[in-house]
């Protein structure tokens, strides 16, 4: 039986599934329910300065995009940090942590970019007995207009400075949460590292407008006829987040910094993928907001089953296993040749592969009067579009050509050796170097 226990920068939890800082972790009631349901840890919804708390809009806070049967694919929110009193939150954190000592309790914080503000709040958080803090440098709406959240996360120097203050005034691990609303995710990650951060977590939400109401001409969610960009999350953002995670995992200035992966994690499989890209644990929000806390049971059982099947006894066994295989385009093997192959036994003759290839690709699929679809190897560039549009799993596959075979499209023999763009004769840089 696989051991799912997690030790993330010294913070222990029975499994690597944490709830991200968000509405599900805004108060004691929810967090107790989360722990009862089996979540390994929570990042308490972001605390602000003492004093009158922020206010939220009193209209809709969320917008969504849907797949079939109104399956929620992407969610956007314009909610701010906690709108409850700081001391109420601190008391609740202390109580819950005392009752669940084996679970990870992280406190998300966002206060103005002034040393005094951090110096004031950090001892209060330290006193709760929480296991660490997460610096919210990612919130893309509302708080950023006040010089906090993403406004800090978009300036690496600020990240480094604030991180340094936190390490100075707080004794436990400091996790820096990064905004994806920047050009190069490696820069803020490197700044966090330089400031002494114990880890980074990413991604926070992406600037977004989920839809426009074509009657009122207002973006959704609409507050009295007007809308603001919100933060996008959910299954739709996972590819973006994983790319950013991989950039940090393999970046020269960032490799090695512990990563807490966030972004569209909905199933155990999503979590496993993040971990193979180097994440020590994962944080979940939208999936819980969509289906409730119970989904963690599937995540735990699924990851455990898969680890047993693959012979992994701990998370560390496969953490980062995919990182060496993430490379730059220029290093991809140009001598690798594949062709699409259609399994006629599985084919249901819908013709989508044909329409896609004929209209938008390489005219490499033939269609007979009897609706038999076949790949024309002499035209197929193995682009994979037919595989992607086929409604039947595994009906169309990409088959590698063995070295020595002749590619009927190019007339060239498939070479056994690896060769990439950096040495390709068509590369002007190669010529220039000679």
């Amino acid at each position: 039986m696989a051991d799912l226990s997690s030790d993330f920068v010294g913070i222990k939890s029975p499994n690597p599934f944490w709830l991200a800082s968000a509405p599900p972790t805004d108060k004691e009631y929810n967090v107790r329910r989360a722990f009862e349901a089996g979540w390994g840890g929570v990042v308490w919804k972001t605390l602000g300065e003492a004093g009158p708390p922020v206010v939220n809009v009193n209209g809709p806070r969320y917008g969504a995009i849907y797949g079939a049967d109104r399956r929620l694919l992407g969610l956007n929110n314009i909610e701010l940090i906690t709108d409850r009193d700081l001391y109420t939150n601190l008391e609740e954190i202390k109580r819950v942590k005392a009752d669940y000592p084996d679970r990870a309790m992280i406190v998300s914080i966002m206060v103005p970019c002034e040393e005094e503000a951090w110096k004031a709040i950090l001892p209060l958080v330290e006193d709760t007995g929480a296991d660490g803090i997460e610096l919210n440098f990612g919130c893309p709406h509302g708080m950023s207009e006040r010089g906090m959240g993403a406004a800090v996360g978009q300036v690496p120097e600020y990240i480094e400075m604030v991180t340094r203050w936190c390490k100075q005034y707080y004794s436990k691990p400091v996790i820096v949460k990064l905004t994806p609303n920047i050009t190069d995710i490696r820069k803020p990650a490197a700044a966090a590292k330089a400031g002494g951060a114990d880890a980074v977590s990413l991604i926070n939400t992406i600037n977004s407008i989920t839809s426009v109401n074509l009657d009122s001409m207002s973006p959704e969610p609409s507050i009295d006829g007007r809308g603001s960009h919100g933060g996008y999350c959910g299954p739709a953002v996972k590819p973006i987040a994983m790319s950013m995670v991989s950039e940090i995992a393999r970046g020269a200035d960032t490799a090695g910094i512990p990563i807490s992966g966030i972004g569209g994690i909905t199933t155990w499989r999503d979590a496993a993928e993040y971990i193979t890209l180097g994440c020590g644990n994962v944080q979940v929000c939208t999936a819980a907001m969509t289906y409730g806390f119970k989904i963690v049971q599937e995540m735990i059982s699924g990851l455990s089953e898969w680890m047993d099947e693959k012979g992994h006894s701990s998370i560390e066994d496969f953490r980062g296993a995919a990182v060496p295989n993430v490379t730059d385009w220029q290093y991809l093997n140009l001598n690798y040749v594949a062709k699409a192959k259609i399994n006629q036994d599985l084919c249901i003759s819908c013709g989508r592969c044909y329409a896609a290839c004929e209209d938008t690709s390489h005219q490499a699929i033939s269609m007979s009067a009897e609706r038999v679809f076949e790949v024309i190897d002499g035209e197929c560039v193995a682009c994979n579009l037919c595989v992607n549009v086929c409604p039947v799993a595994d009906c169309i596959t990409m088959e590698a050509m063995a070295p020595g075979m002749v590619d009927p499209r190019t007339g060239k023999v498939v070479e056994p050796d690896y060769a990439n763009w950096t040495t390709h004769p068509n590369n002007p840089s190669v010529t220039a170097a000679e």
Binding site: A68, D69, R70, I348, S349, C350, G351, R352, Y354, A355, M367, R371, P391, V392
Partner: protein
């Protein structure tokens, strides 16, 4: 309730009013908006889709389903109605399980086709509920066309001709339009007066007048119509029925299934309709099933559908056979009636068991019967018609008969399945050919 299913003989009011209402409600309740979106999402938008090929009216099914999925059911309805002006009725009565839904690739993949028929109904109902007619007439051509029969073939032809700018006069033998849609289809397939509502909506195109209770051969003649109009389309269906050539076929309680169904469709209150305790329907087609199922729904205790061949040879689709079985109709095969017994009224019907090649076995069986419904085929009535082929009007191309200026389509014309949708297609195509012939314009 003084009568019950056990009441011997032929009696009305065998059931309670709630049972009647339940029995004659919609066979397939309409999809609501969310159900339609879910059903529409299953469509793969196939290339050169097999469902289109399978549809006698060539409706662009993937396109209309995508239009539903993207929230424009009225655009979907226009896609349907452009090809098939009776798309609303066809959505209800088409044997989709042997047409578009049989061809659906998801039928092949999972045994569960996209619900094409129900989606078509969703779209057409959505548009027709607004009582708007989506098509407009072309400039008047000054040409006149007579259409005989206000059923699916005739109305489809009339609508297309009117849309193209011709003035159309429709002659129908009955007091109401609709043909078999109004008189010949099971009530639970088209409840709530849909047939009349659809005709009213269809006539919204303008340029069509209908002369009711004008029967070809009785009130008007083909020669007269040909002289008066620039073209004539014959779409009067099959007015005659095959008789039952056995001893006792003239006894009380022996009826034509088409009359039984017509009476039921025209009845204001089905509780007033008499039905036997023991009903035997002879035949194996859609009419036989419609009659048998409705006899059961009217409260008959025992209903037997007796067919001379095996179930695989029945014209009624497997879906229809299963529907009959699910309503409690017993399907008896390989039997031919040999005699009807009774003293004045039918009391029993006698069959002989026959082999697949119809040779007799010498074994007989008697069934209790106080009603026998004949559903063994319909025939073309009338004289002075164009040349016939196998008892129907011979046609070439888009319904051209042997008489110049006279076209034919629907059940009265040779060739094609005797389906509503086929009649609509034939009426439409004949209209296009008439138009071309009258104006010299293609399309």
């Amino acid at each position: 309730m003084t009568q019950s299913p056990f009441t011997p003989g032929v009696a009305a009011g065998r059931l309670g009013s709630a049972d009647y209402a339940d029995n004659f409600s919609d066979l397939h309740p309409a999809l609501d908006a969310h159900e339609a979106l879910v059903a529409a999402d299953r469509c793969y938008f196939c290339h050169d889709a097999p469902c289109i090929t399978a549809c006698p009216t060539d409706i662009d099914i993937p396109l209309f389903i995508r239009q539903i999925a993207t929230g424009t059911p009225d655009a979907a309805a226009k896609t349907i109605l452009t090809q098939n002006i009776m798309g609303g009725m066809c959505a209800r009565v088409c044997p989709t399980e042997t047409l578009c839904e049989e061809a659906c690739v998801r039928e092949m993949a999972e045994g569960k086709p996209v619900l094409i028929g129900q989606l078509q109904r969703y779209a057409t109902d959505h548009l027709q509920a607004q009582n708007v007619h989506p098509f407009s007439r072309a400039e008047p051509t000054g040409k006149t066309v007579a259409v005989v029969g206000a059923g699916p073939a005739g109305l489809s032809c009339a609508h297309r001709l009117a849309m193209l700018g011709h003035a159309v006069t429709v002659y129908d033998a009955r007091a109401k339009p609709g043909g078999l849609n109004e008189y010949g289809i099971a009530a639970y397939k088209t409840p709530e007066g849909f047939a009349q509502a659809e005709v009213d909506w269809l006539l919204g195109i303008g340029g069509i007048s209908i002369e009711y209770e004008n029967m070809l051969g009785r009130d008007v003649t083909l020669v007269g119509l040909s002289a008066e109009f620039d073209a004539v389309f014959l779409g009067m269906g099959l007015g005659g029925v095959n008789g039952l050539a056995v001893d006792g076929a003239d006894k009380d309680g022996v009826l034509d299934a088409v009359d039984f169904i017509a009476d039921l469709r025209q009845a204001g209150d089905v509780a007033t309709l008499p039905v036997g305790r023991d009903v035997v329907v002879i035949g194996g087609g859609m009419t036989a099933v419609d009659a048998a199922v409705q006899a059961k729904l009217l409260g008959a205790l025992n209903v037997t559908l007796a067919y001379r061949r095996g179930r695989d040879r029945m014209n009624a689709s497997v879906f229809e056979q299963d529907l009959a079985a699910s309503k409690g109709v017993r399907i008896m095969t390989h039997v031919v009636p040999t005699a009807i017994h009774g003293n004045g009224a039918v009391h029993e019907i006698e069959f002989e068991y026959v082999n697949n090649d119809m040779s007799g076995t010498g074994q007989t069986v008697r069934l209790a019967a106080d009603q026998v419904l004949r559903a063994i085929g319909q025939t073309l009535d009338g004289e002075g018609l164009p040349a016939l082929e196998h008892g129907k009007i011979a046609v070439t191309g888009a319904g051209r008969t042997t008489v110049d200026g006279v076209w034919a389509g629907g059940d009265c014309a040779a060739g094609g399945d005797d389906l509503t949708v086929t009649a609509v297609a034939e009426g439409r195509d004949a209209a296009m050919d008439i138009h071309e012939s009258l104006t010299g314009a293609a399309g």
